[in-house]
């Protein structure tokens, strides 16, 4: 290994920490849906892609100010989450779990194709650069710092929501015992819709941060989708703390691996690490529930 413990290594570690913020935010919505409805949205990254295009459209085509475009983007994906659940997931809720995963795979193909038809295959960019900050000869982009802070804030807000409100408590309760929810006066279908809306909203939120860092193109979901699933499973499905820790670990593999070797090797080692851990601890690092 030709990268010693020098300043570049430290920079990579810190950048990994910041990348972890984004990955953790991405994993958060998926984790919630996974934990509560017990369904894997394999098209989750494509929902983020839809959000990115929505923001691009509202900002660059319609000409709305960026914050408004972002708010609308979040709304669009939240609604998409609700539609996804009501139209696609609900009919297969009582079939083998793998069907639910696969049906959202059909949505993945559809969304990618729909995005290609609507926006073409060219890379799009909203053209906002936040610049970077230098500190002790190390460079960090403001985007990543902002993402990290927002991710942290969102986790805290979501945590409070799940702990302190009636609906939040019901969301956690559903994941523990679906059948008796009617006895509590809870309409499970409604809780699922709310959860899907929150899951979609979190994907939309991730999209607002991603448009600041990345170009938009129809296949962008395939770039980070598998990574996000891996983080969810590695952290322990439904465990938000686990998701954060897993995001941190994976991000370190990627940035350190990427700065020492080529980017792919960082990713490849991360996937290998994931498989080995799951072989040893199938329930993930923090197996438990919300």
């Amino acid at each position: 290994m030709d990268c010693a413990l020098d300043i570049f290594f430290l920079e990579a570690v810190l950048n990994g920490l910041l990348l972890a913020g984004l990955l953790a935010l991405l994993a958060l919505g998926l984790n919630l849906v996974f934990g509560v409805i017990d369904v894997v949205w394999i098209c989750y990254a494509e929902l983020v892609m839809v959000g990115m295009y929505a923001i691009f459209h509202f900002h660059k085509v319609v000409g709305l100010p960026l914050p408004v475009a972002m708010a609308l983007g979040i709304l669009v994906v939240a609604v998409a989450g609700v539609i996804l659940h009501a139209v696609v997931i609900r009919p297969v809720l009582d079939t083998p779990p793998i069907n639910q995963l696969l049906v959202t795979g059909g949505v993945l193909f559809f969304l990618q194709a729909a995005a290609t038809m609507a926006f073409g295959v060219e890379f799009k960019n909203i053209g906002v650069q936040l610049g970077s900050v230098s500190f002790a000869d190390m460079y960090f982009s403001w985007n990543r710092i902002l993402t990290f802070v927002v991710a942290l804030a969102i986790v805290l807000v979501l945590w409070q929501f799940l702990r302190r409100t009636f609906v939040g408590t019901a969301i956690r309760a559903v994941s523990q015992d679906r059948q008796i929810m009617p006895l509590m006066g809870v309409d499970t279908r409604q809780i699922y819709l709310i959860t899907s809306a929150i899951g979609g909203g979190l994907a939309g939120l991730a999209a607002t941060l991603m448009v600041l860092q990345f170009d938009i193109y129809p296949q962008i979901g395939l770039q980070f989708g598998p990574l996000v699933f891996m983080i969810c499973v590695l952290g322990g499905l439904g465990s938000m703390v686990g998701g954060f820790v897993a995001a941190f670990i994976i991000a370190q593999f990627i940035t350190i691996g990427g700065s020492c070797f080529a980017t792919e090797w960082g990713y490849a080692v991360a996937f290998l690490f994931f498989m080995v851990i799951i072989f040893i601890r199938p329930q993930g690092l923090f197996g438990g529930k919300v």
Partner: protein
């Protein structure tokens, strides 16, 4: 208060209840007794909407229960403490109680109801932050009853409250039942422990293979020889 007429119900091809009729008046405590698999639990599941009835009529204070969606039945004043308690194991005691007060009218009076339940069961107040799944069986039963009371019900359905508990705890559980009676709740209780439950209630229905076999005042049934022989091993 609660009135059932000719209720049929079952699971798929299997019919579990055949034309069951019964009524519970306000302020009464009524038991449903019978052998294992006679359809007692099914009866409670039908009343609280977990299982749809296939025929018959069912009303609570004039509200047609068969036309009420399951999650709205609690709003008619029926609270169901299900078989084997069914607490949310990874929620704290207080969070379980909060789930009991989920419906809108109860939410508004949450703090008041919580104080009331904690006053009734101080043990729950001590354990408010403990995960429900880590408590003893008796405490869990207490929590399950507390959760049902959080909605401010008129009628409490209790399904086998003594099941799976040690004999000492069983006595305590029947004390709990007496206490909620004395708080003015109407109680419909399903029990296998016939000798004990008949001492707590006013009236009882005996169910055999999905049909009401006989009914009457608890004292009368308690004195009946064939019931003593069949269900109390005397």
């Amino acid at each position: 208060m609660l009135e059932l007429t000719g209720i049929n119900a079952g699971y798929g091809q299997f019919q579990a209840l055949f034309g069951v009729s019964m009524r519970v008046e306000a302020g009464e405590a009524v038991a449903v007794i019978g052998a294992n698999g006679a359809g007692k639990t099914t009866l409670l599941r039908v009343i609280s909407g977990l299982l749809p009835a296939s025929a018959g009529a069912m009303s609570m204070e004039g509200t047609d229960l068969r036309r009420t969606p399951p999650h709205r039945i609690i709003e008619t004043g029926i609270a169901h403490v299900p078989e084997s308690r069914r607490l949310f194991p990874r929620l704290s005691v207080e969070e379980n109680l909060r789930m009991g007060a989920f419906v809108k009218p109860a939410r508004a009076r949450f703090a008041e109801r919580l104080d009331y339940v904690y006053g009734l069961f101080p043990r729950l107040a001590e354990r408010r932050n403990q995960l429900a799944g880590t408590m003893s069986g008796g405490e869990q039963q207490m929590c399950a009853i507390g959760r049902a009371l959080m909605s401010g019900p008129k009628l409490v359905l209790l399904d086998e409250p003594s099941m799976g508990l040690a004999p000492v705890i069983v006595t305590q559980v029947f004390d709990l039942v007496r206490r909620i009676r004395s708080e003015g709740y109407t109680v419909l209780i399903v029990e296998q422990n016939v000798a004990q439950v008949l001492k707590v209630v006013d009236r009882a229905y005996l169910i055999e293979v999905g049909r009401v076999d006989r009914s009457g005042p608890a004292a009368e049934l308690l004195a009946s020889d064939d019931i003593r022989r069949a269900y109390m091993g005397l």
